[in-house]
Symmetry: C2
């Protein structure tokens, strides 16, 4: 744990204050952020051409394989927070890419589904998107890609329920 001021690419500057800390650029959050950005950079231009943001695309994709879902369930599937989803659904609805109707049994719930237009838009984007994904897979390697995904899943699972104020913490 005693790490000296490594000072990697910092020539002769009298760097490093007291606090040591791991080399910033090698932290796990940064690695994940950079990797994700490298991947998304490939997709954004194509989505943009179709007038879609990354999140809007996530929602359409999540909707494509089901009849209809509640907003909360969709938030979990598309990995978006409620407020973000609320705004995006409002916009997608205005563009007639999705449809909404309140559930009969429970007036609080609103069932969301993709519209005909939405399906058409997806069909026009999917080919390019799949081609990009294929190229990424080819470059990185199918085997390694699978391994990476497995590790990411493990990481996620190993951190599940760590900081979520475990129902038993008397603190705060």
């Amino acid at each position: 744990m005693t790490k000296k001021p490594a000072d990697p690419a910092n020539g002769g500057a009298p760097a490093a204050r007291q606090v040591p800390m791991r080399d910033f650029s090698r932290s796990l959050p940064m690695s994940l952020l950079r990797a994700r950005e490298a991947v998304m950079r490939q997709f954004r231009p194509s989505l943009r051409e179709h007038g879609l943001t990354e999140q809007q695309w996530r929602i359409l994709r999540a909707l494509a394989s089901i009849e209809a879902v509640e907003v909360t369930e969709l938030a979990r599937t598309a990995f978006l927070l409620g407020p973000s989803l609320s705004r995006i659904l409002r916009d997608l609805e205005a563009r007639n890419l999705i449809e909404r109707k309140t559930a009969k049994a429970d007036q609080r719930r609103s069932m969301v589904s993709i519209s005909k237009e939405g399906v058409k838009l997806m069909a026009s984007v999917a080919p390019t998107s799949e081609a990009i994904y294929a190229e990424i897979t080819r470059r990185f390697g199918t085997r390694k890609l699978a391994e990476l995904q497995e590790m990411l899943g493990e990481l996620e699972r190993s951190l599940a329920g760590l900081g979520a104020s475990e129902e038993a913490s008397p603190e705060e």
Copy 2:
């Protein structure tokens, strides 16, 4: 049983429209996003207590190991876009956590450095931050963590210069 349409794996719904596509939740971008979120979720509460956002913390960390940097260089180090950095620096400067002065040789450039107060703040956050990182490492495994970082780096490198309009494309 508060949940009626459980159906997690979409049991009997007449799912799937024409466009097939990979299972959405298993796409690489989603895996990366979820993994990163699982990690950041651990850090955010602590940073928040100190009045720092994730990005502000990235900037302070990047500044901690050097005397001063130009804004552009800092943007690369902290992996932030210029506009975001511009705004954040304005705020951090107002809070006296950083200092800025224009370079003598080139009036366009502005050299940024962390202030005494900034160093103090870092010192108060670092312990908790390091403890969290240690716990994550313990849970996931030191060995696996290193492997994961290596793979993430490879992924990044394998995609370097793929969609960046390669100086040679006559298109557009």
